[in-house]
């Protein structure tokens, strides 16, 4: 198989495999969306998954090395406080991200240690 042929086959296999993982529940529970158990999950899974995604996106933070996750902690605190105060999602996210970029790129809190 040529190199490009191999690449395209990998794309095809991955496209199908990814689509299958996303499709399975829709096929397995077809016409079952009114089932109370699935409605219960529809209500309680999103908050649980959002919480897990916050943790997951912080997976590469090393708490044992300077600056011990201080950048992430302060940026998340800023995001949370702004959001509870103003309730403007874009404002909260931008402020938190800009703060974080400044902290990382300028090394704002590395000098503390």
């Amino acid at each position: 198989m040529s190199d490009t042929g191999y690449l395209l086959m990998v794309f095809l296999v991955m496209t199908v495999a990814t689509f299958i993982t996303r499709l399975i529940p829709f096929v397995a529970f077809r016409n079952k969306s009114e089932h109370p158990l699935l409605q219960y999950l529809g209500r309680y899974m999103p908050p649980a998954i959002m919480t897990i995604l916050v943790l997951y996106s912080l997976k590469s933070v090393d708490l044992t090395q300077a600056p011990y996750g201080v950048n992430e902690l302060l940026a998340l605190l800023l995001t949370t406080l702004l959001h509870l105060w103003r309730g403007n999602a874009l404002l909260s996210i931008f402020a938190g991200t800009l703060f974080y970029m400044a902290a990382v790129q300028l090394g704002l809190f590395t000098g503390l240690y």
Binding site: L7, F11, P25, I49, S57, E72, L90, Y100
Partner: protein, 226 residues
């Protein structure tokens, strides 16, 4: 229609700030494999899965067998199975629209769809399609930029992908405002921390699976919902 598109755009801006730099990181890695640049965005169009595309760079470099590629992709993306379970009631579209919604179901798209509101309840499905398509555009754009200009980018994007962490945080707060019940948040926090410490590589799969089990366990005893 334009009201739907503009509110979907507004809701998806944080994903743009996450997906473009992440897509670029993928494009830069991909480009080192020596293929033409346009295969990177092509992969974003066809496969469209962030973590799996990063994994594919390693597999391609090692000339892994197609069987190995299939199994690795299925395992890495198996968490997506859980997403659909809580979307059965929401995805009422049919035909191609529904297939596209299912195809484009990433972590970030799931988050926006379950946590933001369509401006017009009549066209909720179109709002979902717009969110899904906009997010994929950001990702494909990032893949293309990274593969094309990778090494020559002047602007330092370090830390920009924190936009996704901040987005998840804000959407978690929005979920809290809607639900006001601590149980699912506490269960997920405990499962998430435990999975991070014990099953680093499969953190998402383990913590989501465990949370669902605990949610169901409580559901069985609650007279209100069942």
């Amino acid at each position: 229609m334009s009201a739907i598109l503009s509110s979907a755009f507004r809701a998806s801006i944080p994903v743009m700030f996450g997906y473009v730099p992440l897509g670029m990181a993928f494009g830069i890695l991909f480009q080192n494999l020596g293929y033409a640049w346009f295969y990177a965005p092509l992969m974003g169009v066809t496969v469209y899965a962030g973590a799996a595309q990063f994994m594919a760079v390693g597999l391609l470099a090692a000339q892994a067998s197609l069987f190995e590629v299939a199994i690795s992709t299925l395992i890495l993306n198996s968490r997506h199975m859980f997403f659909g379970v809580s979307l059965l009631g929401r995805y009422r579209a049919t035909g191609l629209k529904k297939l596209y919604l299912i195809f484009g179901l990433t972590d970030e798209t799931y988050s926006l769809i379950t946590s933001t509101q369509s401006p017009d309840s009549q066209h909720e499905q179109d709002y979902y399609v717009a969110l899904t398509a906009l997010n994929q555009c950001y990702w494909v754009t990032g893949c293309a930029l990274g593969a094309l200009f990778g090494a020559n980018v002047e602007f330092d994007t370090a830390g920009m992908d924190f936009a996704l962490t901040a987005l998840f945080m804000v959407l978690m707060l929005e979920q809290w405002k809607k639900l006001r019940e601590p149980y699912p948040f506490l269960v997920a926090l405990a499962c998430g921390v435990a999975a991070l410490l014990l099953f680093r590589e499969q953190m998402l799969l383990v913590s989501i699976g465990l949370s669902i089990a605990l949610l169901l366990a409580r559901g069985k005893h609650s007279r209100v919902t069942l």
